[in-house]
Each structure stands twice: as structure tokens, then as C-alpha cells.
Symmetry: C2
Subunit: 129 residues, 2 copies
DNA sequence: TTATGTGCAAATCATTTGCAAGATC
DNA sequence: GATCTTGCAAATGATTTGCACATAA
């Protein structure tokens, strides 16, 4: 893989996020500085970077894929009201794989754990309902 | 919600599956018996049935949504080779929500646990590689 | 100077929607 | 007969792809 300025910009823009943005969010942000960058390039590079294992593609939220600059295994929380995806820094429970393995005739290799609920801002809104 | 023959067919076709098919699989199967049913009707009814809580929409697999005739909370296994989605009948670990709650300032209400690996057929294929 | 990456537009895939005609209550 | 549902085709949203031009090694 050759160097490209656009790929570097996509990666560093993603790394600035504490939340986990979608491709079009990254695109809109990059476009402010570089009005020539194309959405296809953003998609291409997010894909390359996640295939390469530098970042992580989050496909479990409905709608567009989100991207996480942290590729190490960890859990997530999704706000069911605003769609925001944030990290849950609790310990990864490896033993769950062995538990599941008892029920599966194939080979269980990993798991994904996603919590759902309302984020701080959105649960505030709901208090008044 | 009024009765409709198409909705009943969609539901009973889904209930025949032990795996968790996508809308186009249900559509193709129904079309063999009823060449007039339309894909939009299948999508509409799968949506209605899942909003109503009769079935469950599975959105965490990349690509098209899958549907599960069992709407009760339970875990799933996804084969990373063929994309098949099957049930994991292990006990639901409610305590995970409380663990995650310690790290989240909003309100954790539920979780989704998805195991990944290779199903029996696909791990067989890989033995010979 | 050859392989790789980009920008644009068109293509693709999954899903939804507008609307006229058909089914249900 | 008023309302809900269908079938079809067109619209939408997310993502990918073909291709001529630009850039990196």
C-alpha cells in the first residue's frame, strides 16, 4: 500500500473523534479543509484501514456503518434515541466464548457485545416526558 | 391492523426456518407458491411484525437484515464465512448490564451478544486448506 | 515509468414510498 | 363505503465501481 495524503487525513480525522463517526461525517469534516476530497475516497480508505486492522468498522448499528479508531477488542454502548456509539471500557469476558461453544457445533472464535439504552443527553430529554 | 393473507404467509414462512433468513429469501420462497406477491409487501410485513413484537429484526450482521421468528431475548452466532445466523440457547447474562452501567453516564437498558466463528459446514471446508 | 490512488459519475444493493387498484371490516 | 393493504415502479440512502487523470515509488 502506497502513501496517500488523503488516507492520512482520513485516519487522523477519525482519531480526533471520541465518538465513532460514520463515513459521511468524516467526509464533511475533511471537505472543509480540502474541498476536492471525494466521498468515494473516504469510503475506500476507511475500508482499507479497517481491512488492514488499523481501525475498526462498526456494522451493528442500524443505518450507516460507524468507524472506531481503536481496533483492539472492546465493548460498545449505543443510544437508541440519537444513535451515538460510545466505548464501554469494561473487561472483555473471554469465558463467554466457551459458554457459547457448548451450544454450537462449529467453532466460536470471538464475540461482540453491544449495550443499548439512552445516553446522558437523551435520558435528560426523556425525564421531562 | 387488518388481516391480510400475505402477512400470514410471510409469518408462517419465517416460522418454518431454523436459521434466520433475509427478506429476499422469504420473498423467493413465497413467490414459488404465489407469483404475485411483491418484495415491498414482504418488507412491509416483516417490518410490521417486528414493530409489533411478533418477530425480531436482526440488524447486526453486515449486509441485509435477517429476521428471527423468536422475539424473546437470546443470543446469536454468525458464521463469518457463509453469513448464516443461528441461535445460541445459553442463559442471558443480565448482570452484564450492571457491569456496563458503571462506565456509562446514561441508562443501560439491554444488550446484544453475538458470537462469531465458523459454522459446522464452513469449518469442515477450512480443515482441508 | 509502472503501480497505486483520486475524483467524478454511474452502478449496485437494501429498503422505503407514492399511488392506483384490490381486499377487509 | 371507508379504511387498510397490495403490487408495481420510482425514490432513497449507503456503499462500490469504472475510468481517465494525478501521484508515489
Amino acid at each position: 500500500m502506497n502513501y496517500s495524503r488523503q488516507r492520512e487525513e482520513v485516519l487522523s480525522q477519525l482519531q480526533m473523534h471520541h465518538d465513532h463517526p460514520t463515513a459521511d461525517v468524516i467526509f464533511a469534516e475533511l471537505r472543509e479543509r480540502n474541498p476536492n476530497i471525494s466521498l468515494a475516497t473516504v469510503y475506500r480508505n476507511l475500508r482499507l484501514l479497517s481491512e488492514q486492522g488499523t481501525i475498526q468498522k462498526i456494522g451493528f448499528v442500524s443505518g450507516a456503518d460507524h468507524f472506531d479508531p481503536n481496533a483492539l477488542p472492546h465493548y460498545h454502548f449505543v443510544c437508541d434515541h440519537c444513535g451515538r456509539v460510545i466505548d464501554v471500557p469494561m473487561e472483555v469476558a473471554e469465558h463467554l466464548n466457551e459458554q457459547a461453544q457448548r451450544y454450537i457445533s462449529g467453532k466460536v472464535m470471538s464475540h461482540e457485545l453491544v449495550f443499548h439504552g439512552l445516553c446522558e443527553e437523551c435520558s435528560g430529554e426523556y425525564d421531562s416526558i
